[in-house]
Symmetry: C3
């Protein structure tokens, strides 16, 4: 049993954060929240999304799981104007999701959840450094890094109390240095890890430029990026495995 009404922009933000990593996913229709966890086919990037019942205009669910084609669902949500409400209702019998947007009805065939890649366990990590900054700053660092390399280094300079986004190319180098004053907050600690730029570029697409992003970082450890949307009632965590630093 699932029946909900949600603003188009909230649904779109939720779908965007998952679709950058996978094409299909399971959606958990829990009583208190809608939840998605997914990992990309190479097991490098993970996403954990939750959208509280309070983020919906109305929400009724009893713990079912559905499998969806994300691109298809995004296309449908894209038919809505920004102020529109989207009505969702699961037909348990036919296993189809009925979607209605201002007179337009869409019947979406669901995917057997068992046919979808297993959901990852997103590990609890006690990472020593935490950086809080704007989505736009991450975007700037990633765009610059992409000019010279296909990997990116995230690093804390503990002495200078600064966070660096660095990329080293064959001939050219890039370094976006953000000091404490440039950041919303900084908990310095030993942190220096290398990541695949492709994954961070994908995650960056989903992060709103004006979002406050919490980055948790360690030494040759995965990075975690957290941000919220829907006025704090939607939460996303991305986790990305590090690459081995070759020196």
């Amino acid at each position: 049993m699932f029946k909900a009404i949600v603003s188009a922009s909230t649904l779109q933000d939720a779908l965007d954060s998952v679709s950058v990593l996978v094409d299909e996913c399971k959606i958990h229709l829990n009583e208190e929240e809608l939840a998605i966890r997914a990992v990309d086919p190479a097991n490098v990037g993970m996403v954990d999304l939750s959208l509280e019942a309070a983020a919906f205009e109305s929400y009724e669910a009893d713990g079912g799981v559905i499998g969806v084609n994300l691109a298809r669902l995004q296309d449908i949500a894209g038919m809505a104007n920004s102020g529109d409400l989207i009505h969702l209702e699961l037909d348990e019998e036919t296993r189809k999701l009925h979607i209605e947007i201002d007179g337009l009805s869409y019947t979406l065939a669901l995917i057997d959840p068992d046919s979808i890649r297993q959901e990852p366990d997103i590990p609890e990590l006690d990472l020593p450094a935490e950086i809080v900054l704007e989505g736009a700053q991450i975007d700037r660092g990633i765009t610059a890094a992409d000019m010279v390399s296909d990997h990116i280094r995230l690093r804390i300079d503990e002495a200078a109390e600064a966070f660096s986004i660095e990329a080293e190319g064959d001939t050219d180098d890039v370094d976006l240095n953000l000091e404490r004053d440039d950041l919303i907050d900084l908990t310095a600690g030993p942190a220096d890890s290398l990541f695949s730029l492709d994954y961070l570029k994908d995650m960056n697409k989903a992060i709103p430029k004006d979002a406050e992003v919490i980055v948790e970082l360690g030494e040759e450890f995965p990075v975690k990026l957290h941000y919220s949307f829907a006025e704090g009632m939607g939460n996303v965590t991305f986790m990305l495995a590090p690459r081995i630093q070759s020196e």
Copy 2:
């Protein structure tokens, strides 16, 4: 003999309605109006356009016929700014059309009208249902239908006094249901026909989103779409043959 001055936007609207179906057409330069009829190569979609002499800043013609390459003429009209006037003059001797836009002269070689596909007879049909709605509503139905299928069903629900734009895909379905209150006007009657989406998508491109469109519909009959432009002095009728409904 043909000599006329017309606003760029009026000429562009006129050309757009024909170019969605054919690449070349005959233009009748009648005394009272400029007129074009054309049918696509598969004989499925037709257009009938008329633009009254009063829609022009000035208009002199004596009944000749010219053949034109529409894409070429659209490119030239596209050189004009929206407020510009376009001067047209036929050189009978060289069979070229002289076009002038604010100091820019373009000499367009015409096509022998006899080499252009014959103009269709657009049949008088006494169709039982008539729907009047906004171009934007047609656009919404067609965009949604295109997500699931390559054909589209237009249907009147006489009991509910509603007009439906429907598409049935392999797995997903779409239905835009417009009740009397959602429409500008409705004359209900037995009407239910299936059409190729490709043709309707092309026609939809030409229909201004804010135009009032009259749709005439029957049971497994062609559909007719009428709209006007140039403050009512230009009129377009599209006619599209139905597809056989397989059940």
Copy 3:
């Protein structure tokens, strides 16, 4: 020794004028100005650019020469917002250019100037006609000409005191006729030359639409186009060799 601060838009305008002709160039870091001269691989189009020290927020140089990849430098300058200042500093030892934009550091490997095509001598020509017009007018003539041909004729009608941009296609012709009143200034004289449209299209991309452009023209002679940017402190001259007129 080279150290300078310049607004992003000034640097971008300077780079654009050169990059339409060549991929790499030598930059002369003279005491009084930054200067570039370049010729395309076919020796048909040349550019001469100077940017006075006064166009910079600060400028220190002692006459060195560096070789740069223009696309790379444009990408970096493109990271700046329109109001941003770009800091440039040459590291003589490593032969790298350090570029800094609001916390973002980019280290650009330079190219050995000796490996770059030799700089052209741009001949002094005493051309009999001079036309002064807006960049937007040149753009209009080139766009129209491009619809019918791959070459373009620039011509003065001395009797009518008019400047014509003409193109003759296989079937269609274009003529943008600009009389004295349409132009900012005109020094009429015997002038009629044919040019490759591809080169003029490239040069046109760099010319700001609102720039005052001085065109010097003769009979089967190269054309020179001059314009300034950065409030007159940047100057560009394009020179384009004529094509032989076949009649």
